[in-house]
């Protein structure tokens, strides 16, 4: 059971990194970007392509995935996303679904429809075992790696947010873009950088998680719901909100799939509906936020 808990935590941390960019985009630009999952998929495929066709080592592909996806995010933000900021949520939803469809078909065309297998380096194939019986804790070293990386990212982002000038500009822009602009904060650039970093994180998450979550052209539609759940439940105005929501979600999903496999995501959906019924604005959002 402890093993399940550990797996759930690893899964949750992964979901957190994957969802963070989406939460920030929603909180900052009031933009529902359903294409976020497509960015994650792109990151995963960057890893695959670099490893399989260019022969890059696994660890080098991770930052590459981040950079490539961030660059793509920046490009798209400047070219198309920017025009959609003022539009209704419905328009944004449809727009981002359109992008997702294009990405899914594109990946299918260039790489193929088969699920991708990641060749993890040998040192990630080991497993540590502690205790026995029901309290046995088995920790795969790859999952440990995921947890370490994600925790580091979380801490780093928190430090960035609270300690740097960019961080305070971001927080000001999230609170009130108009006032922030009036204070001379280059809101456009803050949006661009934040969007790029958020997409990059998604790409990194996709690359990190390719082994755990699976990777095929259908990835976005499978996992989008989870990212949205994290944002809806965790709220979009902090880092800790999505973190807790992602951990709860990850653990619930892993336990649910183990004990009641046929129901799969059922537990997760019900949990989400229950939480949103109780607190429609999410567990962590301040009251009165749109």
């Amino acid at each position: 059971m402890l093993t399940l808990l550990f797996d759930g935590i690893a899964y949750g941390m992964l979901l957190f990194v994957l969802s963070l960019g989406l939460a920030v985009t929603m909180g900052l630009m009031n933009f529902i970007n359903l294409a976020h999952a497509a960015f994650a998929m792109v990151g995963g495929y960057v890893l695959i392509v670099l490893m399989q066709r260019a022969g890059w080592p696994f660890l080098a592909c991770l930052p590459a995935a981040f950079v490539a996806t961030a660059a793509l995010g920046a490009l798209l933000e400047r070219l198309v996303y920017r025009r959609m900021y003022g539009k209704s949520h419905l328009d944004q939803v449809l727009f981002s679904i359109g992008l997702t469809f294009m990405a899914m078909a594109g990946v299918d065309f260039f790489v193929g429809p088969q699920p991708q297998v990641v060749q993890l380096p040998a040192f990630f194939l080991t497993r540590f075992q502690f205790g026995h019986g029901a309290w046995q804790l088995g920790m795969g070293s790859y999952r440990m790696f995921i947890v370490v990386v994600c925790v580091a990212l979380a801490l780093g982002l928190q430090a960035l947010l609270n300690g740097t000038r960019f961080g305070s500009r971001l927080r000001a822009a999230v609170d009130d873009p108009r006032v922030a602009a009036g204070l001379g904060i280059p809101v456009d650039r803050v949006f661009l950088i934040t969007f790029a970093v958020g997409s990059g994180l998604a790409g990194l998450g996709g690359a990190l998680g390719a082994d755990v979550l699976g990777l095929d052209p259908g990835f976005p539609l499978k996992y989008l719901v989870y990212f949205l759940i994290v944002c809806a439940v965790g709220g979009t105005s902090s880092i800790t909100g999505p973190l807790v929501a992602a951990l709860v979600l990850g653990i619930a999903d892993v336990f649910g799939k183990y004990y009641v496999p046929k129901l799969g995501a059922f537990i997760v959906y019900v949990l989400m509906i229950a939480i949103l019924l109780w607190r429609p604005q999410g567990l962590f959002t301040r009251e009165g936020r749109k």
């Binding site: 449809l94 065309f109 719901v225 949205l228 809806a232 799969g264 959906y269 509906i273």
Partner: protein, 325 residues
């Protein structure tokens, strides 16, 4: 009564009068199952899809609720009618009523969920409900037949006389008739005080409450109506094709019908019909050219549509003008 009063009443009534073009269109629509008897199955399919789109228009266009889980009601109606036909009685009209009732019930049960919260919350909840139903149908596949579909579904003759033939002739008249009745009903609602209050709801929710009308009550009523009609569409699908599987709950159904409304325009009654026809035409066109990459082109169309702006789509000369929304 003085004449100004009658004038005012007449002016209020004016939008509810049938326009000539509407009558012409309906005559044309009713001609198709006679004139194109060989395409009867296609006609039935489009009519069902149009009904589904019309039901989503109630929710999206009139109540302003962004829903990506409308397939929940469609599927519920489909399974409701199918299981009813299999286990209770095969009469299609009673089965249709059951499908409508199941859809409406589900709508009533879920309406408290969608009147609160933000657009994002609503999106999540609608997707969540559809997801839950999909998983439930999967789990209880001894009842539903799971992915392979329900077996042993036999639908009785319509009105006791017309057997559903393989060519689909009876189906095409049946589906078209149900669509027509639904259209007439909705037309009445849209021009009634309730309907105008829905338009007011779209314009300014705060004011609706300030003139003494219950916002949540109206939203719930419209949502239930949309759910009931979606249930009808699902029931029709099960009955006319004689088959139902998990596919009825899947995300692509919700996305397809949303796309049809985008094409046809949400917020006006003909949006569902125009959109359904447009969607099918588009689908066929694109599938003939690139069958595997249908999703890419649909995605591209969505992106371009949204960038250009839905209202400006049909006025190409406005595309290059910098305009307000």
């Amino acid at each position: 009564m003085t004449t100004p009063v009658l004038q005012a009443a007449a002016r209020l009534r004016a939008p509810s009068r049938w326009r000539a073009w509407e009558i012409v269109l309906w005559v044309a629509i009713w001609v198709t199952p006679f004139a194109f008897a060989s395409h009867a199955a296609l006609i039935s399919e489009i009519a069902i899809f149009a009904l589904f789109a019309l039901s989503l228009d109630m929710i999206l266009g009139y109540a302003g609720i962004v829903s990506l889980g409308h397939a929940a009601f469609f599927g519920a109606g489909a399974y409701g009618a199918a299981l009813f036909a299999k286990w209770v009685m095969p009469d299609p009209l009673v089965g249709l009523a059951v499908g409508i009732a199941v859809g409406a019930l589900l709508g009533v049960l879920t309406s408290p969920l969608i009147v609160r919260g933000t657009d994002l919350t609503r999106l999540m909840i609608t997707m969540g409900v559809a997801g839950v139903l999909l998983e439930l149908a999967n789990k209880f596949d001894n009842i539903t037949g799971g992915i392979d579909g329900l077996e042993g579904l036999v639908v009785g003759p319509l009105l006791g006389r017309f057997d559903f033939d393989l060519a689909g002739r009876v189906a095409s008249f049946y589906s078209l008739a149900v669509l027509f009745v639904a259209f007439l009903l909705l037309r009445r609602v849209v021009h009634s005080p309730l309907g105008v209050s829905l338009q007011a709801l779209r314009d300014n929710r705060l004011r609706v409450a300030a003139i003494g009308m219950s916002v949540n009550g109206r939203l719930a009523a419209v949502y239930t109506l949309g759910a009931a009609l979606a249930g009808a569409a699902g029931a029709l699908l099960a009955q006319t094709t004689g088959f139902v599987s998990l596919d009825v709950f899947e995300f692509h159904r919700s996305a397809d019908v949303m796309l049809a409304l985008v094409i046809g325009g949400a917020g006006w009654l003909w949006g569902g019909l125009v959109g359904a026809i447009g969607f099918k035409v588009l689908h066929d066109l694109i599938s003939n050219v690139t069958p595997e990459y249908w999703t890419f082109w649909i995605g591209l169309i969505l992106v371009v549509l949204m960038l250009v702006g839905r209202e400006r789509l049909f006025r190409p000369w406005t595309w290059w003008r910098r305009g307000s929304k």
